[in-house]
Symmetry: D2
Subunit: 148 residues, 4 copies
């Protein structure tokens, strides 16, 4: 059984680094966000459209483990996939790898839909949002055959 | 003739620095913003109240000159003052100094009030905003006598 | 048994917020860092001195749970404490609360000392670092009597 | 006479925005940096190689004018070019445009080479750096014929 991943390429710019010459640990949070937003866009879902529909998807849980530092000028791949959705929680899993396939960081980010007019977590997934999410889930559904 | 300044203290944290071991040049923009917001608060004007009144104060012009770098752990004073207001443009002047009074950076930031419902620059300063600004101008009005 | 916390005050500035009008979830990582650096400074340990001794303390694990959003202009307290140290792992626990004692976020950050000349995790805590850490541990040691 | 520009594409992510729903004004400073670093890379000059040679290129002057805001999800082009070099000052000019060619911001950033071992501005451009810069200048030299 093989997982499909969405690959998002990043390049370490000076503003990503700190005094240690490596990427500052909080910078990864920006990359995790950009990777999932661009994954949605690739699947035809513009995040700004969700916001305009009156939903927001705030992060309620974030965890990152740091394995190897990235230094100025290095390129890396942020690999992202949505885990099977239970209830209203959307859980994204991440692997961040150097171009030489060295594991640099791994992460998990959980988001929940919020009704912005009432600023409350939705109890049940609204139909329009459910359709969007099923599309994303289908994309990441594990397959028997190896993917390229 | 002496200018009054509002002093805002900052401390260089790891996330402010870059690979060179000094404060990344874009970090100063955060400090300039915090200094003017805290100056307003000191004078009784909460920026969030302006936003809730339906105004925003976007920056339309920013310039920073960098004289001496600040390094990890250093403290510095962001000295801010509002220049005399002409029309609807609010122009803030800044000096950033180390605690040893060494000049590290100087800056100028210009903002204009926007009516958020129409997302347009106001042509004339609205009365409620004018009162707020006159209060701030009065605070920074140059005086004959030296200040402490 | 009561825990001692180090309190670090933050104020939500415009650059901390996102399109949702609340603090962007990655901003908290800056606050967690500033809180532990300022805690060390309060106890007489300047982080830049550790760096100058040839050590770095990279984060190897970060987790944040978000309970209630903070909005523009709000003040909050980042409460930080070092958990009892095992081996070379330094684990900081955090509670972020509004001034009305509402729980906004909780977090845990783990760091390990690195020998910067060899860029490797130290196997055993070096003596100079151990002394620093024991001082911090002593500060946070649980006491029988309630603290004020 | 037509100027050649280096085009660097950006997409507005949630972490780029502020409470106003538009890109926070300091975010542009990251984009200006990324655009010039990627322009150098395109011309065969990796910025990290300059750093490893013992040089740094700190920003000594930054100015940005903001014309039209960018909102969540919008794409924009950061157009960058190096102005003809005089002495040791490298001056980059920028236009930031929406994909509909609306001018969103314009900027100018000046950098000077620093000898990192002595942390001083170089008096004369070192030979290895001069060769790099002449290559970049040649790329941006104005031409008689219109470019595509």
């Amino acid at each position: 059984m093989t997982h499909r991943w969405f690959d998002y390429l990043v390049r370490v710019q000076p503003h990503h680094t700190d005094y240690g010459g490596v990427v500052w640990h909080g910078t990864y949070v920006q990359w995790l966000e950009a990777a999932r937003v661009e994954c949605l866009r690739e699947l035809g879902v513009a995040f700004e459209d969700l916001v305009n529909l009156g939903y927001d998807l705030p992060v309620i849980d974030l965890s990152v483990r740091y394995h190897q530092p990235l230094t100025l000028g290095m390129a890396a791949v942020v690999k992202a996939r949505l885990a099977p959705v239970r209830g209203v929680r959307l859980s994204w899993h991440y692997q961040i790898e150097s171009l030489q396939h060295q594991r640099c960081a791994s992460a998990e980010v959980t988001l929940v839909p919020i009704d912005m007019t009432r600023r409350r977590i939705v109890r049940r997934m609204p139909d329009d949002l459910r359709q969007v999410i099923q599309k994303i889930e289908a994309y990441f559904a594990p397959t028997e055959a190896p993917l390229q």
